[in-house]
């Protein structure tokens, strides 16, 4: 059990800077998730923490001890790899006990600890099998067993669920969280999947291009994203964006969504320019409530998941976000800027082409600077 600190850590490969000014403090017992699109440096950061990659600058501390120049075996950490990295020629028992054997623990003690870990992970019946005789989920649990049996001060996990099928992934996700809560070991978890990040983390670090975009709880990231990238990356489906003018009316900032006037929750003096980028989450759109000021839109597509529906409709003319929006790499990077989504939970049936009333509630609209993309 330990806290983990990155102090201004840098990593460069020749002229290429993979990680810049990485500053992070993870408290004892935290479940911290590094999330970001591929190539954002999250795995590199984890490998530097593990000691598998050298840092180019800065220091790393685990439990108050500077480990920057220590080898991976001396950092008192355990790691779970994406492809599990089990030793194929060893039985499950030998795989789980390998770390203890390397530390010259005596055989009876190793065996006791392995049995205990196996019982916790329901692997007892498989202890004498080799990894190739196990299913993907079982192999994954062996990899977890190899980590927990060592009783390290931190777990490092590098996309441990990405080789599992969707159903097993959801199941294993909650198992890992439960296990971590039970053991109380500080965990750093790397994933590109923002759903995993939101559901597992107590603290999320969103990264992009080697730079930390935002650090916060899942709620904080969801409710108050620091910039356009985080806003677009976190949440599924992702946030809707549109451009709009900034006007001041009765001392309050307003913009327009089509013909509708939208009052903003931002002090007018913060909005320096004549226009800005606005975002609203699909689940915050209010559909069909004509008592609220809104605009009629024609649905271009209705995706029904039973009670839950995703309604697609065109972004008002001239308000679509074109060009470099800074949200590339998010789950819906491919999404058409011309289309907006609303997510409703409603028994009403919607038809393609139908015109519905869409309202943007006042407190739910996020405002971003059109140049820096920072949240205002």
């Amino acid at each position: 059990m330990a806290n983990i600190r990155f102090n201004n850590v840098q990593k460069s490969y020749g002229p290429f800077e993979a990680i810049r000014n990485f500053d992070l403090s993870v408290e004892d017992g935290d479940f911290c998730v590094f999330v970001g699109p591929s190539g954002c440096g999250k795995s590199t950061a984890l490998k530097m923490l593990a000691g598998l990659e050298a840092t180019s600058g800065g220091t790393i501390e685990i439990g108050g001890r500077d480990v920057t120049d220590l080898g991976p075996g001396k950092r008192d950490i355990a790691m779970v790899f994406q492809n599990y990295a089990l030793y194929p020629h060893m039985t499950v028992r030998a795989n789980i006990g390998f770390g203890l054997k390397m530390r010259n623990m005596d055989k009876a003690q190793i065996n006791a600890k392995v049995e205990e870990a196996a019982a916790m992970l329901e692997l007892t019946d498989y202890l004498d099998r080799r990894p190739r005789a196990l299913s993907g989920g079982q192999r994954q649990r062996v990899a977890l067993g190899r980590a927990i049996v060592r009783e390290p001060s931190a777990f490092l996990m590098d996309e441990p669920l990405s080789n599992l099928d969707a159903k097993l992934r959801v199941q294993t996700r909650s198992e890992i969280v439960k296990l971590q809560k039970r053991l109380g070991v500080t965990t750093i978890y790397v994933t590109h999947d923002q759903v995993e990040a939101l559901t597992m983390a107590t603290k999320i670090v969103v990264m992009r291009g080697g730079v930390i975009q935002q650090i916060g709880t899942p709620e904080a990231l969801f409710e108050t994203p620091a910039n356009l990238f985080v806003a677009g990356f976190i949440g599924s489906p992702g946030m809707n964006f549109f451009r709009g003018p900034v006007e001041v009316e009765n001392g309050r900032a307003v913009t327009r969504f089509g013909d509708q006037k939208v009052t903003l929750n931002v002090a007018p003096e913060k909005l320096s320019g004549t226009h800005a980028i606005f975002g609203i989450r699909p689940e915050h759109m209010v559909v069909g409530d004509t008592t609220m000021p809104g605009a009629p839109v024609a649905l271009s597509l209705v995706e029904s998941l039973g009670t839950e529906k995703i309604l697609h409709f065109p972004t008002p003319k001239g308000q679509a976000l074109e060009g470099d929006t800074g949200i590339e790499g998010s789950d819906d990077a491919e999404r058409d800027a011309q289309t907006m989504l609303a997510r409703v939970i409603d028994d009403r049936r919607y038809r393609d082409g139908e015109t519905v009333h869409v309202a943007l509630p006042e407190g739910k609209v996020h405002v971003f600077d059109p140049d820096s993309h920072a949240a205002l």
């Binding site: 593990a50 075996g73 355990a78 790691m79 790899f81 030793y87 990894p131 190899r146």
Partner: protein
């Protein structure tokens, strides 16, 4: 008319397509083997096409098992397989580990490691024969200069020296194959296994013992079989260097086969040696392949 595209007849069509290849294989592999088994069971001096058949006899085999020459050849071959196989495995593994590292000029180093393999056997052996020459060879000169020996080693007339000279050339010629195969094996070991072992606290030596070697076992097995069979059947190196001499010191089973058949013109006995060699090779490769295949993952 049979419709070969129907599921019921599809396999028949497969056999039909395979038939020419199978026939060809039978003609160029099975027939010569049967022929030599046939000759080994007859009292043949010089085999001629169309010659009258001799009656079948086991005389060649009883000569074989009662002759000192045969058992000497078995002993020489076994010693040579172990020496050449063992040392070229060590050198091959060492060079493979070396050129698997990242360093400047790595591709050039890989080329040099593989070079002896590319030199034709006879050419290489002639060069080595010159270097090993007892009166004006560079090796004796070097050893004399370094005061390691007081008089030149007679590689041609000293049986032990001749044996090790043959082994030396065979190792020089044989280790690159080991090296190339093991390098391919090393490259197929996932990097994550090494990373996991490092996080688990395994040092370089333990990573070699617990990750590299077990992962290489199947490749080592296959390469050991190939090298063993190569030593069994190699003829050129020994014949060019020593002709099997002195006094049988380097006469392996393949040299004995040749001697019996073409020096003494006892083709029946020669064929018997060949057949026994083939059986030994089959047994060894079956044992080694089976053993390493079961340890493979």
């Amino acid at each position: 008319m049979i419709d070969f595209s129907s599921p019921r007849h599809r396999s028949k069509f497969g056999y039909l397509l395979l038939a020419p290849a199978v026939l060809l294989m039978a003609l160029i592999i099975i027939y010569p083997i049967l022929l030599s088994v046939d000759i080994s069971l007859q009292d043949v001096r010089i085999a001629r096409v169309g010659a009258d058949r001799e009656p079948w006899t086991t005389e060649n085999y009883s000569w074989l098992f009662n002759s000192g020459e045969f058992w000497n050849a078995v002993w020489v071959t076994a010693k040579m397989v172990l020496t050449v196989g063992g040392i070229s495995l060590i050198i091959g593994l060492a060079t493979a580990l070396l050129v698997n590292q990242r360093f400047r000029g790595r591709s050039l180093a890989r080329l040099f490691v593989a070079l002896p393999w590319a030199v034709p056997e006879v050419v290489a052996t002639v060069i080595w024969a010159w270097m090993l020459d007892s009166s004006f060879g560079v090796i004796n000169w070097l050893l004399l200069r370094a005061h390691l020996i007081s008089e030149p080693i007679q590689f041609a007339s000293n049986a032990t020296a001749a044996f090790f000279a043959v082994c030396l050339v065979m190792i020089w010629k044989g280790y690159p194959l080991m090296s190339i195969m093991l390098l391919a094996g090393l490259q197929s070991i996932p990097e994550e296994q090494y990373q996991a072992a490092r996080v688990d606290g395994a040092n370089v030596w333990k990573r070699f013992i617990y990750v590299t070697l077990p992962n290489l076992a199947p490749v080592i097995g296959v390469t050991a079989v190939m090298t063993t069979l190569w030593v069994f059947r190699d003829f050129a190196i020994i014949y060019v260097l020593t002709q099997g001499g002195p006094i049988g010191g380097t006469t392996t089973l393949s040299i004995l086969t040749f001697e019996q058949s073409f020096s003494f013109f006892k083709m029946g006995q020669g064929a018997a040696v060949g057949v026994v060699t083939m059986i030994i090779c089959a047994v060894i490769s079956r044992a080694l392949v089976g053993r390493f295949a079961s340890s493979a993952h």
